[in-house]
């Protein structure tokens, strides 16, 4: 059931020819090494693309915020300031790396590692496209939730290890914010899993289809609200926008990574932006039909059969289309996230917590029960099917 | 009608439920409690009517009976069969009796809502009344002597508690004790009788007893374990002693006059209509046994003596309730006389008619007493000398009282005449056949005369002439028609007419009123023919309760009671003579009392002076009370008591217990010696030392350090596993 990038590639005879050539070359059965090689390459490509997107995220953020505030934003480095993030990166590397004296060296270095680890580990599961998914675990979503809670640990450690009251308080608040917002996120994901009937991203995305009426967001009113609960929770979980209290400049002197300088700080920023992308990607996958392309162009059947293109090209065109649809949806959400950051004011700590526990969690639970009821009562049929299909049937039957 | 549990047992259970509920709520919701008990008895009355209609109007057969039982106790082991069944036994007699008891009880309940209204313990009275009615109904319904005995005792308790209702009055206390004790004497014999029957028959239900009788188990020659008395006589005698106790017959009649301390409705219900009648009902049920035991002559004598004696005492009573009490005793005597002379039907009819008019009499007396309120002593006046001329103030009570007095004194057209005349007729018939029966017959007729005399003496003293206590008379308030005060009286007085019982106006069948079964009472109530009980037609309680009607052939009134032509004629003739004599006697009694008390032409003082010795005797009731106290208690019971005490104290205590004490003392000394020598030194001090040692060791172990405990746990656990694993 769980297809990986290797299983996708192996369906082309080209890949088999390559494997047989390699195994004849090495003498023993090389499929094991080949799969490792493919995975390595895939992972390498994805990490770099994500790093690129993370960097571009900072650029995009500054550009969009400028645009919102009617000003230009960075345009010195490279055309329209595209390479600004590279300049920042180089600056970060050149900066001196200071570790606070009384802090705990081991923890100080471990914190960014955990944060980064938490984000990178999720890439294995994000469904970029039906083939390009690194590995479609059948506990996909659940694994994702687990790993993303590592970021919380990372934040806490950062706060604890830099031995200053502000960062300690920032760390504590950041961690408690992340973990408390994980509850509504988990519950809304749970309702989607309930509807789709499976935890792996493959099943989740395939349960939807290209057209908006088939997406989960419009499946039933509960998932519609669920999407917004998830989105708000995700925002808070990545310490973004209205919830960026822990590292808010005015509040706690940029929170837990006050003491971090240079590259260590860069990793935190990078991790944060990558996590925003991951979160938007998951939102797109779960609620907006992920890599699904309208008229099922994605699986390439159209190209191979109707246009009689060779199977390899046909399938890959389909993949490209799927990638396109996934990236457009995710980047739209990314834009919205940045957009929100420069519009909504920052929440106070108790408002933050009240919003989570007294509003989001009850609503999430209500949605969950709603979805369960929907699944039980309407046998999981979406609103569209119920309203129009049955109407159509009735009309059909009527004549 | 199906005699299922809900229809039949409910009659007795409804008042019992009322009792249970009232017992709890009487303190707070007296009004509610009263209505509950009235409703309960009224619904029992409706159920009883249903049974009566079915028995009398639908089945109308003399051999009809329904016997349903369930297994109450069954601890019979292989060898000793010990099974007790409980159940209900309904035949014509039960149906009539049920109707009478529930009817009279309902009316009395209604009346007592008026009579007891301003009484402090208004609610509690109804609690006892409900319990009593349920006991009585239970007794009437029950199918075996044991359950009769149970309800018998329950009624004894109720009468005890109701007599002692006004416990602040000093007389009430010992009166209730006296009533309870004397009936107890009778009950003891009754129990002995039951045991004797149980011994012979193996079960005490009526059907089994009748079957045993018909199989000759009570034949004359079977002696009771060597006492030389035929078992039938022994059983019959002891059961009859129960009747004597309960129905206040000759030797044990002392308690009934004292029972008047209780509230009047209670004496109306208990000491006039139902409880005392239960004794007679029992002997009627056990009539075949009495016959087998040849006890009838003895019964007749007891009945006659009671009737005549009580009548004579009633002559001299001044308290209105005392007069009625003694008249009850004499009428009961009549019923027992009827049983004695074999007039089964007549005696039962007299029981029913007496219950009705005696209840009416008591209620009328009650309403009289209730209206005579003495302002000085704040009590109700019962003394007839202070009454007189009350008929203008209490018209309705007067009418009711007059009807009942006419009935009781045996004036034609009234129920009393119908039943008493039949008893006297049979007594005369018996006297003709057996020489020995002459005395009861003569006493019977004499008692009839005296009854007429003292009843009318009471009427003249209370209602006619001038009111002797002017001040009391003014205070009386005019009586108006009230539902709960005098309507019950009027209803009861209606039933004193003879036509209801004999179907004919004159009571002798001259003017027939109910065409078909006009002599319904006569035909239905018959001596149980023991022969047809052999087949034990009984049904398990749970069996479907529809009684197949065809078995009981429709019985017609047989003019000649199954006798030959000339015998019937002879009987008829004797009855005719008896009737004429009783009419003459009744009227002469009335006339004499009219002369003495109405017109005051004869001066009663003259006669009392003439027979002054007799008069004093009558006044203190033939010295019975004094006799019992002085002779029976002081002379016989107390000495016996002392003697037994002596044996107990003197012999037993001194030797058995004290002796044992010495033995103990000896042992004690030895033990003490052993104790302080061996035990103290070695054991006690030794253990003390060892405990201190352990203490030290263990205290260190108990360090409170959790990890220490943890290590201990693991080591012990693993060594344990190791031990197990190794073998």
């Amino acid at each position: 059931m769980n297809s990986t990038i290797v299983s996708y590639l192996s369906q082309f005879e080209g890949y088999q020819k390559f494997v047989s050539m390699a195994s004849s070359f090495l003498g023993s059965n090389a499929s094991g090494y080949i799969t490792f090689l493919v995975f390595f390459l895939g992972a390498f490509v994805i990490v770099n693309v994500m790093a690129l997107i993370g960097g571009l995220g900072t650029y995009a953020e500054r550009k969009i915020s400028a645009d919102l505030q009617m000003r230009q934003g960075p345009n010195r480095v490279g055309p329209y300031g595209i390479l600004q993030f590279l300049a920042d990166g180089v600056k970060m590397i050149m900066k001196e790396d200071i570790i606070p004296s009384a802090s705990d060296k081991f923890m100080f270095t471990l914190a960014p590692l955990l944060a980064l680890l938490g984000v990178l580990a999720t890439f294995a599961v994000i469904p970029f496209s039906s083939g390009l998914m690194l590995s479609d675990l059948n506990v996909g979503v659940f694994y994702l939730i687990g790993v993303s809670s590592l970021v919380g640990v990372g934040v806490f450690l950062a706060g604890y290890s830099s031995n200053s009251k502000w960062s300690m308080l920032g760390g504590m608040r950041g961690a408690s914010q992340i973990i408390s917002y994980e509850v509504p996120v988990t519950l809304s994901i749970l309702s989607i899993v309930l509807l789709a009937g499976g935890m792996s991203f493959g099943t989740l995305v395939n349960a939807q289809s290209g057209f908006p009426h088939e997406w989960f967001i419009l499946h039933n009113p509960f998932t519609f609200i669920g999407f917004f609960v998830y989105f708000i929770g995700a925002l808070a979980e990545t310490n973004r926008a209205p919830f960026d209290l822990p590292e808010a400049e005015s509040e706690l002197v940029s929170g837990y990574h006050t003491e971090y300088t240079g590259m260590r700080f860069a990793f935190f920023a990078l991790a944060e932006y990558m996590e925003v992308f991951v979160v938007c990607g998951v939102a797109a996958a779960l609620f907006l039909g992920g890599y699904k392309v309208p008229f099922d162009l994605g699986d390439g059947a159209f190209f191979t059969h109707t246009l009689h293109l060779p199977e390899f090209i046909g399938k890959n065109i389909g993949q490209v289309l799927e990638l396109g649809s996934f990236f457009t949806k995710t980047l739209v959400l990314y834009y919205i996230v940045i957009w929100i950051r420069w519009t909504l004011p920052r929440l106070r700590v108790d408002q933050l917590m009240t919003l989570c526990w007294k509003y989001l969690t009850p609503i999430a639970l209500f949605n969950l029960v709603g979805c369960a009821f929907w699944m039980y009562y309407f046998e999981g049929k979406s609103l569209y099917v119920l309203l129009f299909k049955s109407a159509a049937h009735a009309a059909g039957a009527g004549h | 009608m199906d005699y299922s549990f809900s229809n039949v047992a409910l009659i007795a259970l409804l008042p019992f439920f009322a009792f249970v509920i009232n017992a709890f709520i009487v303190k707070k919701f007296t009004k509610l409690a009263v209505t509950i008990s009235c409703l309960a008895i009224f619904s029992s009355f409706l159920l009883a009517c249903r049974i009566f209609k079915d028995v009398v109007f639908d089945v109308y057969s003399s051999e009809f009976y329904v016997h349903k039982y369930f297994n109450w106790i069954d601890i019979s082991s292989a060898t000793i069969p010990f099974k007790i069944n409980m159940g209900i036994y309904i035949d014509n007699m039960t149906a009539i009796m049920l109707l009478m008891v529930t009817g009279v009880a309902t009316l009395i309940h209604v009346f007592s809502t008026y009579y007891m209204h301003d009484d402090a313990r208004f609610g509690r009275f109804f609690v006892y009344m409900s319990l009593f009615t349920s006991a009585m109904l239970g007794l009437v319904l029950s199918d075996n002597l044991l359950s009769v005995f149970i309800f018998w005792e329950l009624m004894g308790f109720c009468s005890y508690s109701l007599i002692g209702f006004y416990y602040e009055k000093e007389g009430a206390g010992n009166a209730s004790m006296k009533a309870f004790m004397t009936t107890r004497v009778g009950d003891v014999f009754f129990l002995v009788g039951i045991l004797a029957i149980w011994n012979i028959v193996g079960s005490v239900s009526f059907v089994d007893i009748y079957a045993a009788l018909s199989q000759g188990k009570f034949a004359h020659d079977i002696m009771i374990f060597g006492l030389g008395i035929p078992v039938a006589t022994f059983a019959a005698f002891s059961i009859f002693m129960g009747t004597i106790g309960k129905s206040a017959q000759f030797p044990l009649q002392v308690w009934l006059p004292d029972a008047m301390f209780g509230p009047t409705p209670c004496s109306a219900l208990i000491h006039a209509a139902t409880m005392v009648a239960a004794g007679v009902y029992l002997s009627l049920r056990m009539f075949p046994l009495m016959e087998a035991g040849h006890l009838l002559t003895f019964i007749a004598y007891i009945g006659a003596i009671t009737a005549f004696g009580a009548a004579t005492i009633a002559l001299v009573q001044t308290d209105i309730k005392a007069v009625l009490a003694y008249s009850t005793i004499s009428q009961l005597g009549y019923m027992v006389l009827g049983v004695g002379v074999g007039a089964y039907n007549a005696s039962f009819m007299h029981l029913i008619t007496h219950a009705v008019f005696k209840a009416c009499l008591f209620l009328a007396a009650g309403s009289v007493i209730h209206s005579l309120h003495d302002h000085h002593t704040h009590e109700h006046v019962q003394e007839m000398p202070r009454m007189g001329g009350l008929r203008k103030k209490l018209p309705f009570t007067f009418i009711a009282m007059m009807c009942c007095t006419l009935a009781i004194s045996g004036i034609p057209f009234f129920s009393g005449f119908v039943s008493k005349d039949r008893i006297l007729g049979d007594a005369l018939l018996a006297a003709l056949h057996h020489k020995v029966m002459w005395v009861p017959a003569v006493l019977g007729f004499a008692a009839a005369f005296l009854t007429a005399f003292y009843m009318f003496r009471m009427m003249f003293l209370t209602f006619f002439g001038e009111p002797r206590d002017k001040e009391l008379y003014e205070h009386m308030h005019e009586e108006h028609l009230q539902l709960n005060s005098n309507v019950p009286l009027l209803i009861l007085s209606i039933f004193t007419l003879g036509v209801f019982y004999s179907g004919s106006l004159t009571g002798q069948g001259f003017i027939k009123v109910f065409k078909g079964n006009y002599e319904w009472f006569g035909t239905l109530v018959e001596k149980p023919h023991v022969a047809n009980f052999q087949d034990h037609k009984r049904q398990l309680w749970t069996m479907d309760s529809s009684v197949d009607r065809e078995e009981f052939k429709h019985s017609r009134y047989d003019e000649k009671h199954g006798k030959t032509e000339e015998e019937a004629h002879h009987v008829h003739q004797v009855h005719l003579i008896g009737a004429l004599m009783s009419i003459v006697i009744a009227f002469s009694g009335v006339f004499l009392s009219f002369l003495m008390y109405g017109k005051k032409s004869l001066n009663p003082a003259f006669w009392t002076g003439l027979f002054s010795g007799w008069y004093r005797g009558l006044l203190n009731k033939y010295y019975f009370d004094t006799f019992y106290i002085k002779v029976v208690i002081q002379k016989m019971l107390l000495p016996l008591n002392n003697f037994l005490a002596f044996i107990d104290m003197g012999i037993y205590d001194r030797y058995a217990i004290d002796g044992w004490e010495n033995v103990n003392r000896w042992f004690y000394t030895v033990a003490k010696w052993f104790d302080n020598l061996v035990v103290d030194t070695v054991a006690v001090d030794g253990t003390g030392a060892s405990v201190r040692l352990f203490n030290v060791v263990l205290r260190t172990l108990q360090s409170g350090k959790i990890q220490f405990y943890f290590i201990m746990i693991i080591l012990v656990l693993s060594s344990y596993i190791w031990a197990i694993g190794s073998n």
Binding site: T109, A124, T354, A372 | -
Partner: protein, 136 residues
Amino acid sequence: MASHGLDVYMPIIILMAFAVIMIVGALLVGRILRPHNPNALKESAYECGEEPIGIAWSNFNVRFYVVSLIFIIFDVEGALMFPVAAVFKKFASIGLGAPVFASFVLFILILFSGVIYCWKKGDFDWVKSYRIPSSK
């Protein structure tokens, strides 16, 4: 031909390796390029310019713990509910929807009652909401 087997976990291992490599690599590269002259002032924790006073680990309000407590309870609840949710569709399709739905909702209700309890007892309101005990 594609022995999925445990290959599915290979990318996770590889990605984690990537994360480690990036961190260590960046630090090593930095160590070479970065100026390195630590002095006490720079190394002291930033205190808006003043001297840092006291240790950082002063006792914090227990609220943080209560939040993490409720998180872990819901976390475990999620863990238990995920398989049930995943299987819900299958059970519903074979007609067993009602009992599964009932047990599912019962599970949630029981835990939600816990949330309500905490809510009423004021564990969620972050600011010290001390209810002044009524004066009587």
